[in-house]
């Protein structure tokens, strides 16, 4: 009973705190899709390299770079 209470309070807190986080919708990614948003000296080359890695590894994300939003850019 106590554990459930704690979980409930925790979840209520989470829902209040994280309601401030919103998802950037695909049509709002204009700035995020800019090559300048890639943390690298040569963002364009980095983007190409990441695309290559994505294809080879079948993995994506976790590196901060963005694209057009469909995952195929």
């Amino acid at each position: 009973m106590k554990i459930i209470k704690y979980i409930f309070i925790l979840l209520a807190l989470f829902s209040i705190v994280f309601s401030g986080c919103t998802t950037v919708q695909p049509w709002e990614r204009e700035r995020l899709s800019d090559p300048n948003m890639i943390f690298d000296e040569n963002p364009i080359q980095k983007g190409i390299y990441e695309h290559y890695i994505n294809i080879r590894e079948g993995s994506e994300g976790g590196d901060g770079s963005q694209s057009g939003g469909c995952g195929c850019g």
Binding site: M1, I4, K5, I7, F8, L11, A12, F14, S15, F18, T23, Q25, P26, W27, E28, R29, E30, S33, D34, S67, G68, G69, C70, G71, C72, G73
Partner: protein, 167 residues
Amino acid sequence: MKIYRSIFFLLLFLMLHKNGFSQETGKPFLDFTAVTTAGQQMKLTDLTGKVIFLDFWASWCKPCKEEFPYLIKLYSDYKDSGFVVVAVNVDTDRDKLDKFINNLGTDVPFTVVIDKEGKIPDLYKLDAMPTSFVIDKKGIIRYRHTGFELSDKETYSKEIPELLNQN
């Protein structure tokens, strides 16, 4: 105890599901009114009776750059058979839209709608850019495409004539 459990699941549902469902195929299209690049008002229901290719794009979207010239060709091929393209642009800057079209090196023969605030993509609950919907003559969304790859050209060229041949 039961109340806690109910509230727990309710909160969990709200947290996981705040983005809503995306617009599905087999359902009627959602109507909207918007302004075209020519400055005219257009309403999607005015196009009922035609096969509509509703496309969402932006100048910053890489696959859109590949898709757009193909849409021009697709429209040119089927326009006389009752096919229309409505391209909803979500750029916040009109200059970028104009630059994109100028770089195509050709006129855009179909309707391009401006939606800076993103109300129409929000209505259709897009997952990605570009996204397109193929709507039949009765106003039912028959196909939905997310992203654009070269292989999609073949898919489009099968879907459009199929819907044009239906009453």
